[in-house]
Amino acid sequence: MQRLGPSAFILFSLTAALPAMGAVLPDDRADVMYHRYDGGGVTIDGPSLLVRKKFAEKYSVSANYYVDMVSSASIDVVTTASPYKEQRTQGSFGFDMLNGKTQYSLSYTNSDENDYTANTASFDLSQDMFGDLTTVSFGYSQGWDEVRKRGDSAFSESVDRRNYRLGLSQIVTPQLMLGFNYEVVTDEGYLNNPYRSVRYLDSSSANGYSYQPEVYPGTRTSNAIALNARYYLKYRAAVHGEYRYYTDTWGIDANMVEVGYTQPWRKQWIFEFDYRWYDQSAADFYSDLFPRADAQNFLARDKELSTFTSHMLSLGATYELPPLGWKFIERSTVNLFYDRVLYDYSDFRDVRKGGVPGTEPLYQFNADVFRIFVSGWF
Protein backbone atom coordinates (compact mmCIF):
# COMPACT_ATOMS: atom_id res chain seq x y z
CA MET A 1 0.00 0.00 0.00
CA GLN A 2 3.02 2.31 0.27
CA ARG A 3 2.82 2.72 -3.43
CA LEU A 4 2.05 5.18 -6.12
CA GLY A 5 -1.76 5.24 -5.97
CA PRO A 6 -3.45 3.22 -8.70
CA SER A 7 -6.59 5.26 -9.29
CA ALA A 8 -4.70 8.45 -9.91
CA PHE A 9 -2.54 6.81 -12.53
CA ILE A 10 -5.51 5.11 -14.11
CA LEU A 11 -7.10 8.46 -14.77
CA PHE A 12 -3.90 9.88 -16.18
CA SER A 13 -3.62 6.97 -18.54
CA LEU A 14 -7.23 7.07 -19.51
CA THR A 15 -7.18 10.63 -20.66
CA ALA A 16 -3.66 10.80 -22.01
CA ALA A 17 -5.07 10.10 -25.45
CA LEU A 18 -6.82 13.45 -25.58
CA PRO A 19 -4.92 16.01 -27.64
CA ALA A 20 -4.91 19.49 -26.21
CA MET A 21 -6.14 21.11 -29.40
CA GLY A 22 -8.81 18.54 -30.25
CA ALA A 23 -10.10 17.53 -33.68
CA VAL A 24 -6.93 15.63 -34.44
CA LEU A 25 -6.56 12.00 -33.49
CA PRO A 26 -3.35 11.01 -31.71
CA ASP A 27 -0.44 9.83 -33.86
CA ASP A 28 0.15 6.14 -34.46
CA ARG A 29 2.98 5.37 -32.10
CA ALA A 30 4.48 2.89 -29.69
CA ASP A 31 6.43 3.72 -26.53
CA VAL A 32 8.46 1.41 -24.35
CA MET A 33 9.58 2.98 -21.07
CA TYR A 34 11.52 1.95 -18.00
CA HIS A 35 10.72 4.09 -14.96
CA ARG A 36 12.41 4.26 -11.59
CA TYR A 37 11.64 6.21 -8.42
CA ASP A 38 14.14 6.08 -5.58
CA GLY A 39 13.67 8.16 -2.44
CA GLY A 40 12.73 8.04 1.23
CA GLY A 41 13.56 4.34 1.46
CA VAL A 42 11.16 3.48 -1.36
CA THR A 43 12.21 2.11 -4.72
CA ILE A 44 9.59 1.68 -7.43
CA ASP A 45 10.48 0.65 -10.94
CA GLY A 46 9.05 -1.19 -13.90
CA PRO A 47 8.01 -0.95 -17.52
CA SER A 48 5.26 0.93 -19.32
CA LEU A 49 4.20 0.11 -22.87
CA LEU A 50 1.81 2.18 -24.96
CA VAL A 51 0.53 1.47 -28.46
CA ARG A 52 -1.84 3.70 -30.45
CA LYS A 53 -3.27 3.05 -33.87
CA LYS A 54 -5.70 4.97 -36.07
CA PHE A 55 -7.98 3.38 -38.58
CA ALA A 56 -10.32 4.84 -41.20
CA GLU A 57 -8.86 8.28 -40.23
CA LYS A 58 -11.77 8.58 -37.85
CA TYR A 59 -11.08 6.10 -35.09
CA SER A 60 -8.13 5.45 -32.83
CA VAL A 61 -7.47 2.70 -30.32
CA SER A 62 -4.82 2.57 -27.63
CA ALA A 63 -3.55 0.09 -25.08
CA ASN A 64 -1.21 0.59 -22.14
CA TYR A 65 0.49 -1.98 -19.94
CA TYR A 66 2.19 -0.66 -16.82
CA VAL A 67 3.95 -2.27 -13.85
CA ASP A 68 5.14 -0.85 -10.51
CA MET A 69 7.56 -3.10 -8.65
CA VAL A 70 7.69 -1.69 -5.13
CA SER A 71 10.37 -2.22 -2.50
CA SER A 72 9.46 -0.18 0.54
CA ALA A 73 11.33 0.66 3.70
CA SER A 74 9.86 4.14 4.02
CA ILE A 75 9.85 6.03 7.31
CA ASP A 76 6.23 4.94 7.91
CA VAL A 77 7.09 1.33 7.27
CA VAL A 78 10.27 1.13 9.34
CA THR A 79 8.72 2.86 12.36
CA THR A 80 5.42 0.95 12.53
CA ALA A 81 5.69 -2.14 10.29
CA SER A 82 8.19 -4.23 8.31
CA PRO A 83 9.78 -3.52 4.92
CA TYR A 84 7.96 -5.26 2.09
CA LYS A 85 7.93 -5.86 -1.65
CA GLU A 86 4.92 -5.95 -3.91
CA GLN A 87 3.88 -5.47 -7.52
CA ARG A 88 1.07 -3.52 -9.16
CA THR A 89 0.01 -4.32 -12.69
CA GLN A 90 -2.23 -2.13 -14.77
CA GLY A 91 -3.83 -2.53 -18.17
CA SER A 92 -5.90 0.07 -20.00
CA PHE A 93 -7.70 0.34 -23.31
CA GLY A 94 -8.92 3.46 -25.04
CA PHE A 95 -11.10 4.25 -28.02
CA ASP A 96 -11.28 7.67 -29.69
CA MET A 97 -13.65 8.79 -32.41
CA LEU A 98 -13.42 11.96 -34.45
CA ASN A 99 -16.59 13.47 -35.86
CA GLY A 100 -15.96 16.81 -37.57
CA LYS A 101 -14.54 19.08 -34.90
CA THR A 102 -15.64 16.87 -32.05
CA GLN A 103 -13.64 14.08 -30.50
CA TYR A 104 -15.14 11.43 -28.23
CA SER A 105 -13.00 9.21 -26.02
CA LEU A 106 -13.89 6.14 -24.01
CA SER A 107 -11.49 4.24 -21.77
CA TYR A 108 -11.37 1.45 -19.28
CA THR A 109 -8.56 0.54 -16.92
CA ASN A 110 -7.89 -2.18 -14.40
CA SER A 111 -5.17 -2.02 -11.78
CA ASP A 112 -4.35 -4.91 -9.51
CA GLU A 113 -2.02 -5.61 -6.62
CA ASN A 114 -2.22 -8.06 -3.76
CA ASP A 115 -4.18 -5.68 -1.51
CA TYR A 116 -5.84 -3.23 -3.88
CA THR A 117 -7.91 -3.49 -7.06
CA ALA A 118 -9.13 -0.50 -9.04
CA ASN A 119 -11.41 -0.32 -12.07
CA THR A 120 -12.13 2.94 -13.84
CA ALA A 121 -14.30 3.90 -16.80
CA SER A 122 -13.95 7.30 -18.42
CA PHE A 123 -15.64 9.45 -21.05
CA ASP A 124 -14.18 12.62 -22.56
CA LEU A 125 -15.38 15.00 -25.24
CA SER A 126 -13.51 17.85 -26.89
CA GLN A 127 -14.81 20.40 -29.36
CA ASP A 128 -12.91 22.87 -31.56
CA MET A 129 -14.47 26.27 -32.18
CA PHE A 130 -13.70 29.86 -33.14
CA GLY A 131 -11.90 28.82 -36.30
CA ASP A 132 -10.04 26.11 -34.40
CA LEU A 133 -8.39 28.65 -32.12
CA THR A 134 -10.28 27.32 -29.13
CA THR A 135 -10.81 23.81 -27.80
CA VAL A 136 -13.25 23.08 -25.02
CA SER A 137 -13.21 19.70 -23.33
CA PHE A 138 -15.33 17.88 -20.76
CA GLY A 139 -14.69 14.63 -19.02
CA TYR A 140 -16.16 12.27 -16.48
CA SER A 141 -14.64 9.24 -14.79
CA GLN A 142 -16.11 6.69 -12.47
CA GLY A 143 -13.89 4.49 -10.35
CA TRP A 144 -14.60 1.42 -8.23
CA ASP A 145 -11.82 0.35 -5.90
CA GLU A 146 -11.53 -2.58 -3.54
CA VAL A 147 -9.19 -2.22 -0.57
CA ARG A 148 -7.84 -5.36 1.09
CA LYS A 149 -5.33 -6.02 3.85
CA ARG A 150 -2.47 -8.48 3.86
CA GLY A 151 -2.79 -11.02 6.62
CA ASP A 152 -6.51 -10.35 7.12
CA SER A 153 -8.54 -12.21 4.53
CA ALA A 154 -11.80 -10.95 6.05
CA PHE A 155 -10.87 -7.30 5.43
CA SER A 156 -12.51 -5.85 2.31
CA GLU A 157 -13.60 -2.26 1.81
CA SER A 158 -14.66 -0.24 -1.22
CA VAL A 159 -14.09 3.23 -2.61
CA ASP A 160 -16.27 5.04 -5.14
CA ARG A 161 -14.55 7.79 -7.14
CA ARG A 162 -15.94 10.38 -9.53
CA ASN A 163 -14.03 12.96 -11.54
CA TYR A 164 -15.54 15.90 -13.40
CA ARG A 165 -13.17 17.70 -15.76
CA LEU A 166 -13.45 20.89 -17.75
CA GLY A 167 -10.73 22.26 -20.01
CA LEU A 168 -10.12 25.15 -22.35
CA SER A 169 -7.22 25.60 -24.73
CA GLN A 170 -6.79 28.87 -26.59
CA ILE A 171 -4.41 30.08 -29.31
CA VAL A 172 -3.91 33.75 -28.49
CA THR A 173 -1.19 34.85 -30.89
CA PRO A 174 0.96 33.01 -33.46
CA GLN A 175 3.40 32.36 -30.59
CA LEU A 176 1.19 31.99 -27.52
CA MET A 177 -1.15 29.25 -26.37
CA LEU A 178 -3.05 29.42 -23.07
CA GLY A 179 -4.80 26.64 -21.22
CA PHE A 180 -7.26 26.38 -18.37
CA ASN A 181 -8.28 23.25 -16.48
CA TYR A 182 -10.77 22.72 -13.71
CA GLU A 183 -11.46 19.44 -11.97
CA VAL A 184 -13.69 18.24 -9.18
CA VAL A 185 -12.98 14.89 -7.59
CA THR A 186 -15.26 13.16 -5.10
CA ASP A 187 -14.32 10.04 -3.14
CA GLU A 188 -16.55 7.99 -0.93
CA GLY A 189 -15.65 4.87 1.02
CA TYR A 190 -12.59 3.59 2.83
CA LEU A 191 -10.07 6.36 2.15
CA ASN A 192 -7.31 5.63 4.64
CA ASN A 193 -4.51 3.14 4.57
CA PRO A 194 -5.29 -0.03 6.57
CA TYR A 195 -1.63 -0.35 7.63
CA ARG A 196 -0.82 3.20 8.72
CA SER A 197 -0.96 4.46 12.31
CA VAL A 198 -0.97 7.77 14.13
CA ARG A 199 1.07 8.35 17.26
CA TYR A 200 -0.08 9.89 20.52
CA LEU A 201 1.52 10.83 23.83
CA ASP A 202 1.57 7.91 26.21
CA SER A 203 3.44 8.27 29.49
CA SER A 204 3.19 4.54 30.10
CA SER A 205 5.31 3.84 27.03
CA ALA A 206 9.11 3.77 27.35
CA ASN A 207 9.64 6.28 24.53
CA GLY A 208 6.74 8.48 25.60
CA TYR A 209 4.34 7.70 22.77
CA SER A 210 2.26 4.87 21.29
CA TYR A 211 0.47 4.20 18.02
CA GLN A 212 -3.16 3.59 17.03
CA PRO A 213 -4.74 3.04 13.56
CA GLU A 214 -5.63 6.03 11.38
CA VAL A 215 -9.27 7.07 11.06
CA TYR A 216 -10.24 9.13 8.00
CA PRO A 217 -13.56 10.65 6.97
CA GLY A 218 -15.56 8.53 4.53
CA THR A 219 -15.87 11.28 1.94
CA ARG A 220 -13.57 13.78 0.28
CA THR A 221 -14.29 16.41 -2.36
CA SER A 222 -11.60 18.48 -4.01
CA ASN A 223 -11.46 21.38 -6.44
CA ALA A 224 -8.42 22.18 -8.54
CA ILE A 225 -7.95 24.96 -11.06
CA ALA A 226 -4.90 25.34 -13.29
CA LEU A 227 -3.71 27.93 -15.78
CA ASN A 228 -0.90 27.27 -18.20
CA ALA A 229 0.89 29.04 -21.02
CA ARG A 230 3.27 27.96 -23.76
CA TYR A 231 5.22 30.50 -25.81
CA TYR A 232 7.22 29.97 -28.99
CA LEU A 233 10.51 31.86 -29.17
CA LYS A 234 11.54 33.01 -32.62
CA TYR A 235 14.94 31.28 -32.58
CA ARG A 236 13.04 27.97 -32.24
CA ALA A 237 12.69 27.28 -28.58
CA ALA A 238 9.71 27.25 -26.22
CA VAL A 239 9.00 28.37 -22.68
CA HIS A 240 6.08 27.19 -20.63
CA GLY A 241 4.59 27.86 -17.24
CA GLU A 242 1.76 26.61 -15.11
CA TYR A 243 0.01 27.58 -11.88
CA ARG A 244 -2.45 25.37 -10.00
CA TYR A 245 -4.54 26.08 -6.94
CA TYR A 246 -6.09 23.22 -5.00
CA THR A 247 -8.49 23.02 -2.08
CA ASP A 248 -10.49 20.19 -0.54
CA THR A 249 -12.96 19.35 2.19
CA TRP A 250 -10.21 17.86 4.35
CA GLY A 251 -8.70 21.33 4.75
CA ILE A 252 -5.74 20.93 2.40
CA ASP A 253 -4.88 23.99 0.32
CA ALA A 254 -2.05 23.70 -2.17
CA ASN A 255 -0.25 25.84 -4.73
CA MET A 256 1.97 24.67 -7.55
CA VAL A 257 4.13 26.68 -9.93
CA GLU A 258 6.11 25.18 -12.78
CA VAL A 259 8.32 26.81 -15.39
CA GLY A 260 10.19 25.13 -18.20
CA TYR A 261 12.30 25.69 -21.28
CA THR A 262 12.60 23.51 -24.38
CA GLN A 263 15.57 23.90 -26.70
CA PRO A 264 16.18 21.90 -29.89
CA TRP A 265 19.80 21.46 -30.93
CA ARG A 266 20.80 20.52 -34.45
CA LYS A 267 18.27 18.28 -36.13
CA GLN A 268 18.37 15.34 -33.78
CA TRP A 269 18.26 16.73 -30.27
CA ILE A 270 15.69 18.33 -27.99
CA PHE A 271 16.65 19.37 -24.46
CA GLU A 272 14.24 20.28 -21.68
CA PHE A 273 14.77 22.06 -18.37
CA ASP A 274 12.07 22.34 -15.75
CA TYR A 275 11.59 23.64 -12.23
CA ARG A 276 8.49 22.84 -10.16
CA TRP A 277 7.53 24.24 -6.76
CA TYR A 278 4.76 22.76 -4.67
CA ASP A 279 3.41 23.79 -1.28
CA GLN A 280 0.49 22.52 0.78
CA SER A 281 -1.16 22.98 4.16
CA ALA A 282 -2.09 20.03 6.36
CA ALA A 283 -5.45 18.29 6.56
CA ASP A 284 -7.60 19.44 9.49
CA PHE A 285 -7.30 16.06 11.19
CA TYR A 286 -3.55 15.63 10.67
CA SER A 287 -1.10 15.69 13.56
CA ASP A 288 2.38 14.35 13.99
CA LEU A 289 1.65 13.68 17.66
CA PHE A 290 -1.84 13.61 19.16
CA PRO A 291 -2.17 14.54 22.87
CA ARG A 292 -3.83 11.23 23.79
CA ALA A 293 -5.42 8.11 22.29
CA ASP A 294 -8.66 8.73 20.39
CA ALA A 295 -8.02 12.45 20.72
CA GLN A 296 -10.57 13.28 18.01
CA ASN A 297 -13.01 11.64 15.58
CA PHE A 298 -10.59 11.59 12.65
CA LEU A 299 -6.88 10.92 12.96
CA ALA A 300 -4.13 11.02 10.35
CA ARG A 301 -0.34 10.96 10.37
CA ASP A 302 0.17 10.42 6.67
CA LYS A 303 2.97 12.77 5.62
CA GLU A 304 1.17 13.35 2.30
CA LEU A 305 -1.53 15.09 4.41
CA SER A 306 0.97 17.21 6.38
CA THR A 307 2.33 20.71 5.72
CA PHE A 308 5.25 20.53 3.33
CA THR A 309 7.04 22.09 0.38
CA SER A 310 8.75 20.33 -2.49
CA HIS A 311 11.17 21.50 -5.16
CA MET A 312 11.81 19.56 -8.33
CA LEU A 313 14.49 20.12 -10.94
CA SER A 314 14.13 18.19 -14.21
CA LEU A 315 16.41 17.59 -17.15
CA GLY A 316 15.36 15.82 -20.32
CA ALA A 317 16.99 14.86 -23.60
CA THR A 318 15.45 13.43 -26.76
CA TYR A 319 17.55 12.05 -29.61
CA GLU A 320 15.99 11.25 -32.96
CA LEU A 321 17.53 8.08 -34.33
CA PRO A 322 18.74 7.86 -37.92
CA PRO A 323 16.32 6.00 -40.24
CA LEU A 324 16.27 2.38 -39.16
CA GLY A 325 15.42 1.05 -42.59
CA TRP A 326 12.33 -0.66 -41.24
CA LYS A 327 9.33 -0.19 -43.50
CA PHE A 328 6.77 0.22 -40.76
CA ILE A 329 8.70 2.74 -38.62
CA GLU A 330 8.62 6.32 -39.92
CA ARG A 331 10.81 7.77 -37.19
CA SER A 332 11.98 6.90 -33.71
CA THR A 333 13.49 8.61 -30.68
CA VAL A 334 15.42 7.68 -27.56
CA ASN A 335 14.57 9.72 -24.47
CA LEU A 336 16.06 10.20 -21.03
CA PHE A 337 14.46 12.28 -18.29
CA TYR A 338 15.87 12.78 -14.80
CA ASP A 339 14.14 14.55 -11.90
CA ARG A 340 15.56 15.44 -8.51
CA VAL A 341 12.90 16.20 -5.90
CA LEU A 342 13.37 17.60 -2.39
CA TYR A 343 10.53 17.09 0.10
CA ASP A 344 10.72 19.33 3.14
CA TYR A 345 8.13 18.67 5.89
CA SER A 346 7.03 21.31 8.39
CA ASP A 347 5.09 19.16 10.85
CA PHE A 348 6.15 15.56 10.26
CA ARG A 349 8.96 14.50 12.52
CA ASP A 350 11.63 11.87 12.05
CA VAL A 351 10.98 9.65 15.07
CA ARG A 352 13.96 7.46 14.14
CA LYS A 353 16.24 10.23 15.43
CA GLY A 354 14.80 9.96 18.96
CA GLY A 355 14.45 12.69 21.58
CA VAL A 356 11.55 14.13 23.53
CA PRO A 357 8.29 13.31 21.68
CA GLY A 358 7.26 16.28 19.56
CA THR A 359 10.77 17.75 19.37
CA GLU A 360 12.43 15.25 17.03
CA PRO A 361 14.03 16.74 13.88
CA LEU A 362 11.61 17.49 11.05
CA TYR A 363 11.68 14.97 8.23
CA GLN A 364 12.97 15.62 4.74
CA PHE A 365 14.21 13.47 1.90
CA ASN A 366 15.36 13.58 -1.71
CA ALA A 367 14.02 11.43 -4.52
CA ASP A 368 15.61 10.57 -7.86
CA VAL A 369 13.23 9.80 -10.71
CA PHE A 370 14.32 8.33 -14.04
CA ARG A 371 12.36 7.78 -17.23
CA ILE A 372 14.12 6.09 -20.10
CA PHE A 373 12.04 5.31 -23.15
CA VAL A 374 12.05 4.60 -26.85
CA SER A 375 9.27 5.97 -29.07
CA GLY A 376 8.44 4.90 -32.58
CA TRP A 377 5.93 6.42 -35.02
CA PHE A 378 4.44 4.25 -37.75
Binding site: L50, G139, S141, Y216, I225, A254, N335
Partner: protein, 75 residues
Protein backbone atom coordinates in the same frame (compact mmCIF):
# COMPACT_ATOMS: atom_id res chain seq x y z
CA UNK B 1 -22.42 19.09 -8.15
CA UNK B 2 -25.43 21.01 -9.46
CA UNK B 3 -23.40 24.18 -9.98
CA UNK B 4 -20.72 22.37 -11.93
CA UNK B 5 -23.29 20.60 -14.03
CA UNK B 6 -24.84 23.93 -14.97
CA UNK B 7 -21.49 25.38 -15.98
CA UNK B 8 -20.78 22.30 -18.10
CA UNK B 9 -24.17 22.47 -19.79
CA UNK B 10 -23.77 26.18 -20.52
CA UNK B 11 -20.37 25.62 -22.09
CA UNK B 12 -21.66 22.65 -24.03
CA UNK B 13 -24.49 24.73 -25.46
CA UNK B 14 -21.93 27.36 -26.41
CA UNK B 15 -19.84 24.71 -28.09
CA UNK B 16 -22.74 23.25 -30.00
CA UNK B 17 -23.82 26.69 -31.16
CA UNK B 18 -20.66 26.62 -33.24
CA UNK B 19 -19.83 30.27 -32.77
CA UNK B 20 -18.69 30.16 -36.38
CA UNK B 21 -19.31 33.87 -36.83
CA UNK B 22 -16.16 34.67 -34.82
CA UNK B 23 -13.37 35.58 -37.22
CA UNK B 24 -10.16 33.70 -36.32
CA UNK B 25 -7.59 36.36 -35.46
CA UNK B 26 -4.68 33.95 -35.90
CA UNK B 27 -4.95 32.72 -39.48
CA UNK B 28 -4.26 29.08 -40.32
CA UNK B 29 -1.06 30.03 -42.15
CA UNK B 30 0.16 31.79 -38.98
CA UNK B 31 -0.08 28.64 -36.89
CA UNK B 32 3.00 26.79 -38.07
CA UNK B 33 4.65 27.35 -34.68
CA UNK B 34 2.01 25.19 -33.03
CA UNK B 35 2.84 22.36 -35.40
CA UNK B 36 6.41 22.36 -34.12
CA UNK B 37 6.91 19.43 -31.79
CA UNK B 38 8.44 21.64 -29.10
CA UNK B 39 5.06 23.37 -28.70
CA UNK B 40 3.18 20.14 -28.08
CA UNK B 41 1.65 20.29 -24.58
CA UNK B 42 2.22 16.57 -24.13
CA UNK B 43 5.01 15.42 -26.41
CA UNK B 44 5.65 12.20 -24.46
CA UNK B 45 2.35 10.91 -23.05
CA UNK B 46 3.79 7.82 -21.35
CA UNK B 47 6.42 9.89 -19.61
CA UNK B 48 4.04 12.69 -18.59
CA UNK B 49 1.47 10.25 -17.23
CA UNK B 50 4.16 8.63 -15.12
CA UNK B 51 5.53 11.81 -13.56
CA UNK B 52 2.01 13.10 -12.82
CA UNK B 53 1.41 9.78 -11.11
CA UNK B 54 4.46 10.40 -8.92
CA UNK B 55 3.14 13.85 -7.97
CA UNK B 56 -0.27 12.56 -6.96
CA UNK B 57 1.20 9.76 -4.89
CA UNK B 58 3.47 12.10 -2.93
CA UNK B 59 1.21 15.16 -2.63
CA UNK B 60 -2.19 15.87 -1.10
CA UNK B 61 -3.41 17.76 -4.15
CA UNK B 62 -4.88 16.14 -7.24
CA UNK B 63 -6.62 17.00 -10.49
CA UNK B 64 -6.55 19.71 -13.17
CA UNK B 65 -3.21 18.50 -14.45
CA UNK B 66 -3.70 19.42 -18.07
CA UNK B 67 -5.03 16.77 -20.39
CA UNK B 68 -4.35 14.02 -17.91
CA UNK B 69 -7.41 14.17 -15.74
CA UNK B 70 -6.86 13.62 -12.06
CA UNK B 71 -8.08 11.85 -9.00
CA UNK B 72 -6.34 10.16 -6.17
CA UNK B 73 -6.13 6.66 -4.84
CA UNK B 74 -3.18 7.52 -2.67
CA UNK B 75 -4.50 6.20 0.63
Amino acid sequence: MVGIDRVCIALLVLALAGCSSVEPWVKPYERQNFADIIMAPDRNPVSTAYIDHVFEAREGARGASGSHGGGCGCN
